[in-house]
Amino acid sequence: MLAVNHVTKKYGTFTALEDITIEFHSGVYGLLAPNGSGKTTLIKMLATLLFPTSGEILWEGMDIIKLGERYREVIGYLPQEFGYYKHQSPRQFLHYLAALKGIDRAVARRKVPELLELVSLGDVIDTKMRKFSGGMVQRVGIAQAMLNDPRILILDEPTAGLDPKERVRFRNLISELSRDRIVILSTHIVSDIETIANRVIMFKDRKLFCNDSPANICRTLSGNVYETWEIESVTVPYFPLTQRQENGRTLVRFVCESGCPESARPGEPTLEDVFLYVYRDQVM
């Protein structure tokens, strides 16, 4: 188990995260919050790239900083800005990172082609990466994060720059990889996690806002989400969520806590609705 205990992170006088307590067990955890809300700070602390100002992060009861390389051996990390050597092929690049991770050469020789097949890069295993698209590079990134068969997989904004097809492929891959390991996935794109995350973690005002299953989080707006064709009726005190076109007309989704317009029909709340409502000050 990975436990974040009362962690606070400050940069000078600025507090990025305050008194965060979370326990991670096997499964997919989605860190969902707008940009600049502390997701990457937490991710970097979990990857030992930053240190908490106060509090502790424990892996199986031991402080991850004290564990040092023993902790780094169990994590796989994909940073937000994933760098690579353009003159190398995925095979060369993964062999280099396998060496840095202390993986035996014989094991690496077997594992590298397997992982590249898994991320559907088997046919370009020896092609220089300078010719790769953003999606292909990101898949190399996922393969490298899996090299040491990590018990904790930390992915920071892994779908940034991916097209819709690649995003779907990525989600399926994460679902496959999440068996018997902790997958921590940070994103501000709701659709990335609503289908694959077992739990969604949200931060607000630098503090932990919720840590629950997507269904339970959606339930917090149950009975409060409505839809109407009459766009002009959605004014204060209602909170507009999204608009979509249906049969040439605009259907508005909104949150209504009391006294809803008669023309409105109730809707099933989604994670996106909750996200927009929770972060209404930041998003809209």
Binding site: F51, E69, R72, Y77, P79, G83, Y85, K101, G102
Partner: protein, 245 residues
């Protein structure tokens, strides 16, 4: 009072936990460097460093060969100034290249971190610097073996002393703006005395007792190795001045 005796499995688990927590012997610097060499090999340890190394070597060669001062009259002073040149620039350029690389973060989460690799490289750069100094002295045409020994002791004294001071400085002062300071230090301690004191500086270096320079060189080497050990074992937050921190 009856007590439930722990099972054999529970006992073994408890012993393993105690051993794990209490009796883990920290790796020695030599063991760590050897382990890294075996795991990574020179190809991976020096990946993408060939250009900075070549530039540093070229700078040292240019400084010795194209120096405007008459070489025969300023041999000791030029060799003294040139001795740390390769080391300073190789460390600065490889460190800068590593820091600017987008892989930097990822590498810091691996078993062997950039700072440990930097420790290995720094040690290799000092060895290479030693070889380059020796070669430069051997080709300088000193009339006797004593002259060679004097110049070698003097050059190695400059190299190790400077290596120690620059690493120590970088460890204690972590601002990124202070990274070029070792180069400024080299300018202050190497070429500046030649320009300021001229012939007197050369005279001083050619008369300083060999025993004194050898002693200083040995002490500086010991301190430099201690700095490398601290670099390889330091917590990352402590060593912002080094590559990978």
């Amino acid at each position: 009072m009856n007590m439930i005796e722990p099972s054999r499995e529970e006992k073994e688990r408890a012993i393993a936990l105690i051993l794990d927590k209490g009796l883990t012997k920290p790796k020695s610097i030599w063991r760590l460097l050897h382990e890294m060499y075996r795991a990574l090999g020179l190809r991976h340890l020096f990946l993408n460093t060939s250009l900075p190394i070549l530039v540093s070597m070229a700078l040292m060669a240019v400084f010795i060969l194209w120096n405007p001062l008459p070489y025969d009259q300023y041999k000791n002073a030029i060799l003294f100034a040139a001795a740390p040149l390769f080391f300073v620039f190789a460390v600065l350029l490889t460190e800068t290249a590593e820091r600017m690389n987008a892989l930097f973060e990822l590498k810091m989460t691996c078993k062997y971190t950039i700072q440990q690799i930097a420790a290995f490289r720094v040690l290799c750069f000092s060895l290479t610097g030693t070889v380059l100094c020796t070669l430069a002295i051997l080709f300088s045409g000193f009339p006797d073996a004593y002259g060679v020994l004097r110049a070698l002791a003097c050059s190695l004294c400059a190299l190790y002393l400077f290596s120690f001071i620059s690493l120590s400085f970088m460890r204690h002062f972590q601002s990124k703006w202070l990274r070029p300071v070792p180069v400024l230090l080299w300018m202050a301690a190497g070429p500046c005395p030649i320009l300021v004191f001229g012939k007197q500086w050369e005279l001083f270096l050619s008369r300083v007792p060999v025993a004194a320079t050898v002693t200083i060189a040995v002490l500086a080497l010991a301190l430099f190795l201690r700095e490398i050990k601290m670099l390889a074992n330091a917590q990352r937050r402590v060593v912002h001045g080094y590559a990978g921190c």
